[in-house]
């Protein structure tokens, strides 16, 4: 029974191969890989590492040293700590702004960045000289400070039970945009 169990474990682990690397090096555990660079292929066995450079062949595979993958391992080890610390966002709101001149949309984006909104959450869809700006999935709390009217609307949306896990989508009309970003409109309109 024990032999069967050991065979089973060995059988599973034999097929699972772990490739670790970045743009400069590649190593493998539990199998063999072929690394091709600059037209040359190097065979890397389990527990070996090869180093890479632009337009040149991979170095001869050598035995992996502990320090070789330290930078990569450090990168992944922080994962568990980060998971415990990561904050919960709560309700999310997407604000779709009405189409305006591209220059104005760009101006508003600058203001939003100054207000602390992340660049990843601001999206500009440009069509000719006009653009549609979208503020994607912003935490509700952040909305309270800059867009009190929409905060109230979003709160009403989330009060409904079936909407609790949804993202509220609100439309910001040009009239309101002019109120929020008067300076930008005065400058570019």
């Amino acid at each position: 029974m024990k032999i069967l169990f050991i065979n089973l474990i060995l059988g599973i682990s034999l097929f699972a191969l772990v490739i670790t690397g970045n743009q400069d090096k590649v190593s493998v555990q539990g199998g063999t890989i072929e690394v091709t660079s600059g037209g040359v292929t190097e065979v890397v066995e389990s527990g070996q590492i090869t180093f890479l450079q632009e337009d040149s062949a991979p170095t001869r595979a050598v035995q992996l040293q502990k320090s070789d993958l330290k930078d990569i391992q450090d990168d992944f080890q922080e994962e568990t700590i980060g998971l415990q610390l990561s904050p919960t966002l709560g309700h999310l709101v997407t604000l779709k702004f009405e189409t305006v001149k591209y220059e104005i949309a760009k101006g508003i984006k600058k203001v939003l960045l100054k207000q602390g909104f992340s660049s990843a959450s601001i999206h500009i869809d440009k069509k000719n000289h006009y653009a549609k700006l979208t503020l994607i999935q912003v935490p509700l709390k952040k909305l309270q400070k800059f867009y009190p009217i929409y905060y109230k609307a979003a709160k009403r949306f989330f009060r409904i039970k079936r909407n609790k896990n949804k993202v509220a989508k609100l439309m910001v009309r040009e009239r309101e945009m002019r109120q929020f970003y008067e300076e930008v409109f005065n400058k570019y309109d």
Binding site: A16, I33, I136
Partner: protein, 141 residues
């Protein structure tokens, strides 16, 4: 009535087949308050929650301080470090299909990675490819 059932069935089958895996674990970037950015059919999606569905042709980008673990349908596990870009060029894995022409092609144009192969690596190792900036990595069958 039968037509409605058929259309609904096909719709959900299609939806199911489009998904090739999920974002299983991760660390959020504190500034961006998100795990990653996904470019899908010209649209940019921000990943705020785990269990996010990953699809073929997705371009997944982690932020300056975020990390991700993706589990694909064949049990391939991809760990992405910070500032890493992964593109899923090809992913063929259908358990229901009789043809076992499985394939997985990934492109990692930036950053660090750790990939644990799953069923595709086991059954079709020759069709499992990873491209990085300077190299192409293949499994030995």
């Amino acid at each position: 009535m039968f037509k409605i059932y058929l259309v609904t069935f096909l719709f959900f089958t299609n939806l199911y087949s489009a998904s090739i895996g999920i974002i299983e674990q991760g660390v959020k970037d504190k500034t961006e308050q998100a795990y990653a950015l996904i470019s899908r059919h010209g649209k940019t999606i921000i990943v705020y929650h785990l269990n996010f569905v990953v699809k073929k042709d997705d371009k997944i980008k982690t932020f300056r301080r975020s990390r991700l673990t993706i589990r694909l349908n064949d049990n391939t596990v991809i760990k992405m470090g910070k500032k890493t870009t992964l593109i899923i060029d090809k992913y063929v894995y259908d358990v229901r299909s009789r043809k076992k022409n499985y394939a997985a092609n990934f492109r990692i144009s930036n950053g660090s990675f750790q990939i644990k192969t799953g069923r595709i690596g086991e059954i079709s190792p020759r069709n499992f490819k990873i491209k990085t900036k300077f190299s192409t990595i293949g499994l030995r069958g």
